[in-house]
């Protein structure tokens, strides 16, 4: 039994980092542009299909396919920002409407291009690590390590570089940051492109673990927003921890409670946390 529980703790943490990296995009975008970009889920879907296409159809090595997918999604994010999102800065409702519209358009386009037949990438790194009775697929551990590295690198960049500190300054007081010479427009565009790139990376790594279908991003963006709220919007490390808490809650909850209500376990946990800490677990911390 302990193997089952420890196995699900580990698996929940791995799945949780996927929630966490999209949550990081949500929290960054909200902090800098003032909108909750629900379209990050479809950028994740785009990244997943792009990685699958470049790896299995074009024949690029998987790491190169992942990099290409990240570039493609970042560029798509940049185009979306310049064409649509820049007109919705700090307007929550307009931003929400535009992002919902983008979800409809991008999911329908994906259906037209790739159809509803699931796509499964070749097994990039088959096999498992087995230790003390625990069995974890090798690729899951690689994905876990990569996502942790990217999240910590983002944290380091935000705290140690001028641009990162400028972003924090802008999130705290936009006018003061602008008066101090922070190029606000470029900063906002950069953050949107970076966030969509993160979603694209999540999608590209997701493609190595699960089958793809055009609606795959819908579930993840909901989990990511849950994770961001759980952690407290604005906290980078909190986004990761929020994702992991959510993943672990679902994984361990599924052992003892009916699997049919798995998504509810995370939501119940969220409600309980918000009752006692309305601003989230890590609000106020970086």
């Amino acid at each position: 039994m302990w193997q089952l529980i420890v196995g699900q703790l580990l698996n929940g943490a791995i799945v949780g980092t996927l929630y966490g990296i999209v949550a990081l995009g949500v929290t960054l975008t909200f902090g800098i542009t003032g909108i909750v970009n629900f379209a990050l889920g479809v950028f994740m879907m785009l990244g997943a299909y792009a990685a699958w296409y470049f790896a299995d159809t074009v024949g690029l090595p998987y790491p190169l396919a992942v990099l290409t997918a990240v570039v493609v999604t970042s560029f798509a994010g940049l185009v979306a920002d310049q064409a649509l999102f820049r007109f919705t800065r700090n307007n929550l409702v307009n931003g929400l409407l535009v992002s919902i519209g983008m979800i409809a358009v991008m999911e329908s386009s994906a259906l037209l291009i790739w159809t509803s037949t699931p796509k499964e990438m070749h097994h990039v790194l088959p096999g498992v690590f087995a230790f003390f009775g625990l069995v974890v697929p090798k690729m899951k551990l690689v994905v876990f390590g990569l996502l942790l590295a990217v999240i910590f690198a983002t944290y380091a960049a935000l705290t140690k570089t001028w641009s990162g500190r400028a972003a924090y300054a802008y999130a705290q007081n936009a006018e003061a940051a602008a008066l101090m010479g922070v190029p606000t427009s470029r900063l906002q565009t950069g953050v949107v492109a970076y966030s969509t790139g993160l979603a694209g990376l999540a999608g590209a790594l997701y493609a190595s673990l699960y089958s793809l279908e055009p609606t795959l991003g819908s579930l993840f963006i909901l989990k990511a927003v849950e994770a961001a709220i759980l952690a407290g919007i604005g906290s980078v490390a909190g986004a990761l921890l929020g994702g992991i808490i959510l993943g672990v809650t679902e994984g361990v909850g599924s052992i003892y409670l009916p699997l049919a209500f798995r998504d509810a376990y995370g939501l119940v946990f969220l409600v309980v946390i918000l009752l006692f800490k309305p601003s989230g677990l890590f609000a106020g911390r970086r």
């Binding site: 509803s116 679902e250 049919a260």
Partner: protein, 388 residues
């Protein structure tokens, strides 16, 4: 004045010709999901029906009495949404005056449209594959229903025959992992007694729609020392379940009553047994059956794309053959409007097309099917079964 007479005569002629054209077209409605995660069960039905309609029309149509008719297929996309399907059915019956409706294959869609369809009993025929249709056959005010897919249970039910086959493979404990939705619950109701009767223990887990990571339920189920995994029910989840089960060494033996061989073949090196019900294994049938070969050739020419071998078995429900059956029934009944007469003819015929299809007395299809068994070493054996 002359101009006016000429234009009046012209208008009258146009009206008559439009009326004649309208009289000589039989409209077939189709309510299936063509997009979305559950589109597996509607997309092929649409592809096959459209191909049959095109073939019949290009051959000049069909004669009933002294008139020659052509077919028109009206097939909105339900996207597996019962509310959308209900609106589409209303449009088909009330605005398009359709008398023949193909579909739905999905139980949740059928449950959503059933009350409205029942109100229109006697005005149209519905030829659908949904599992939930089975329970409505023969009930008062449900004369409009014909079920176009083999039933799972009963002496000649494919599920019953498959569980018997599973028993012969030495199965003692089986784990059923299905989606927590309308069909998932119906499947549990159907298969629990079949397994019990066969003396095989059945552990059941239902998962939330949209689940992609099955590590927890698979670990839980394998801890119960089950020998076969019975996952369902669309390829959208089968790819993930089979991969995660085999990769972690949790299950090596699989048993399927819905879904394709593709998820098994993708992970074939790690699988000992993969037993699946397949209405037809087209890869094999193409070599042996001229009608199947002709269908595949016609499909490629019409759609100008590769033949979807993984989806094609689902053309066994409300699809290509059923368009031809309906036309045959209208010819035999001598009417395209009297749905009761057409239904009587449909239920009395045996159609020899891609499948040998007949209906039992309740209006449920009985057709031949394949049981595929992929063993370790990738060899696939195909057993053709003709239910009594």
């Amino acid at each position: 004045m002359t101009r006016r007479i000429v234009s009046l005569v012209g208008a009258a002629a146009l009206t008559v010709s439009v009326a004649v054209y309208a009289q000589n077209v039989v409209k077939i409605g189709q309510i299936e999901a063509q997009t979305g995660t559950l589109a597996t069960y509607g997309w092929m039905g649409h592809q096959g029906a459209l191909l049959a309609v095109d073939e019949i029309n290009r051959a000049g149509g069909f004669r009933v009495g002294s008139k020659t008719y052509k077919l028109e297929l009206i097939s909105p996309d339900t996207r597996a949404n019962p509310q959308e399907a209900l609106i589409q059915l209303k449009q088909l019956l009330e605005q398009q005056k359709v008398r023949y409706v193909f579909g739905p294959f999905l139980t949740n869609v059928f449950n959503g449209i059933e009350p409205y369809a029942t109100q229109n009993n006697g005005k149209f025929l519905m030829l659908g594959g949904a599992t939930a249709i089975h329970a409505m056959l023969g009930k008062p005010n449900h004369d409009y229903l014909i079920r176009t897919w083999n039933w799972d249970a009963g002496a000649s039910g494919f599920g019953q025959l498959l569980v018997d086959y599973l028993k012969k493979q030495g199965a003692q404990k089986t784990a059923m992992l299905f989606q927590n939705d309308a069909f998932g619950k119906v499947a549990v109701d159907i298969y629990s007694p079949i397994f019990k009767q066969a003396g095989i223990d059945l552990k059941i887990e239902l998962f939330e729609p949209g689940t992609k990571d099955f590590s927890a339920p698979l670990a839980k189920l394998s801890a119960g020392q089950t020998d076969f995994l019975f996952p369902g029910y669309t390829d959208a989840v089968l790819y993930d379940i089979v991969r995660q089960a085999t990769e972690g060494g949790l299950f090596k033996r699989f048993f399927l009553v819905r879904g394709s061989m593709a998820p098994g073949q993708k992970n074939q090196d790690l699988i000992d047994d993969y037993i699946a019900y397949l209405p037809k294994y087209f890869e094999e049938a193409e070599k042996k059956e001229p009608k199947v070969k002709a269908f595949i050739t016609a499909y490629k020419a019409f759609y100008k794309q590769d033949f979807p071998y993984d989806q094609a078995p689902l053309c066994s429900s409300s699809c290509y053959d059923h368009v031809y059956m309906l036309v045959d029934a209208m010819k035999r009944a001598g009417t395209v409007d009297d749905v009761a007469k057409v239904k009587k003819q449909l239920l009395s015929m045996t159609y020899n097309g891609l499948w040998n299809i007949r209906f039992d007395s309740t209006g449920e299809a009985v057709f031949d099917f394949d049981v595929l068994h992929m063993r370790k070493g990738r060899a696939i054996s195909v057993t053709r079964i003709n239910p009594k």
